[in-house]
Amino acid sequence: MTTLTSPSPARFRDLIAAEWIKTRSLRSTWWTIALVGLFVIGSAAVAALADSHNLAAARTTPSGPADFRPFDAFPQPGYMTLMLVAGSVGAITVVSEYSSGLIRTTTVAVPARGSVILAKATVVAALWMAVGTVVATGSFLVSQAILDAQHAGVSITHPGVPRALVASALLAPVCALIGLGLGVLIRHSAATMATCAFTLLMLPTVFSQSKRWSADVNHTMVVAAWQRLVQNWAPEPGSRMFSATVPGSWTVYGLWPLIAVVVAVLVVRGRDV
């Protein structure tokens, strides 16, 4: 047997590389990304086509430059699906280790449990950041190309577009990290998936925008923050609905994944594997 003479290095980048090997060596990773990407971009194409038909039917000759139509470029069905898939895949990266017992093999190899979670979070965030960027850019470009036929397309530098694009691109990594945190907390696949879907998509619908307290809760939800950031019009002054603020929505984007990862790191330290 050969002997490994070098001392034991403990580099965080090695953990990231190891988690990346785990992620890319699963074929399901690539299938999931390809399918969700096609679905989201397809949903933008469908929304843009429908809008473009309406514009054609109304036969309105555009007066002046076109307005940005944010929910053609970033339609809700597509992006809610992206939230669900990113959240689930984020959860699966840890839940699959718990359900197979691989987590014990991993923990014996790397007794620094918090570092493992941080490495997983880094890989999950980076991967879904890349997916989110490609998908958001793709759905924007496809929708604008379709709307261009009715002279209703806008460029990527149009007011409101960069913010909507960044918010839509970040949606995937934000949800993936929330899923990862829930996965560490719950550990069981079915329960994690259900909780993830509930937290990301069902829970926000419980709280309406018409009462102050209820709107306040609603605005702390990721989906509400995304809608506010994509939306390019200011709330009507006379409206009886309470609207989220833009800085508040960015804060929501930051806090959810941060809390999810911090809680996950704290929980794994004190728990039997």
Binding site: A17, A18, I21, V108, A109, D272
Partner: protein, 306 residues
Amino acid sequence: MIEVNELTKRYGDKTAVERLTFTVRPGQVTGFLGPNGAGKTTTLRMILGLDEPTAGSATVGKTDFRSHPRGLRHVGALLDAGQVHGGRSAAAHLSALARSNGIPPRRVEEVLQEVGLAEAARGRIGGFSLGMKQRLGIAAALLGDPPVLMFDEPINGMDPEGVLWVRRLFRRLAAEGRTVFLSSHLMSEMENTADQLVVIGRGRLIAAEPLEEFAARGTHRSVVVGSPRATELAAVLTAAGASILPQGPAGAGRLAVTGLPADRIGALALEQRIALTELTTRTASLEEAFMELTADSVEYLAGQHR
């Protein structure tokens, strides 16, 4: 070296491991024996820092295993061959483990060769037999070339060739000066492999001693005698204080005698002019010693619970 001191683990009011103390030394294969549910796996998990002990401590090489940021160069462990992701290839599984510990990628090829999985390295683990998964688990344990190796039921699911291979491997690892700690619920597995034994039952230590000493603890030493006049012989031996159990089919003329040594039985037969066709001393096998001692512990503890 593995040192376990007063190690205790309770789940609620159920005690899985109670005040276990033993030492596993380098250069030897130490068997860790106990019936199913005796607490072997729980003990191994606590040694590996996966489970927190309720009381007591376990150290590997004088340190708490959890204090190492990376583990593979300190301890190689196979806890359960199923603890892998079926969707990955053996090579990817080992590459990720190696990379996490800064182990060069060539080691992956080396250990795959070593366990005989080089051919299957690119195939999905999901398609592996249990024996192949055991080999993969052993490969993972060897990756970091560690001084301490722990295996939980490593030969489950292995074919006879695999069992021979794994025994030779364990002997060789011990000969290289490593600490080899091997759990099993099968005594026969230890007979050909282990130098030392740690035996537990219901979470408590029953024995920690060399294999020969443990085997000698079997109390049921008996002598098998064969004679055409077995009935007469039985009466003579019983009168001399022995206890008799007929052996084999009725009328075969074979008796298992306990309580008298073979030379005394021969002398008594000669005095009575009874011809003997067989006179064999049978020492208790390791398996019997094990069964006897663990059965005692189980009964004893079961009695306490009532």
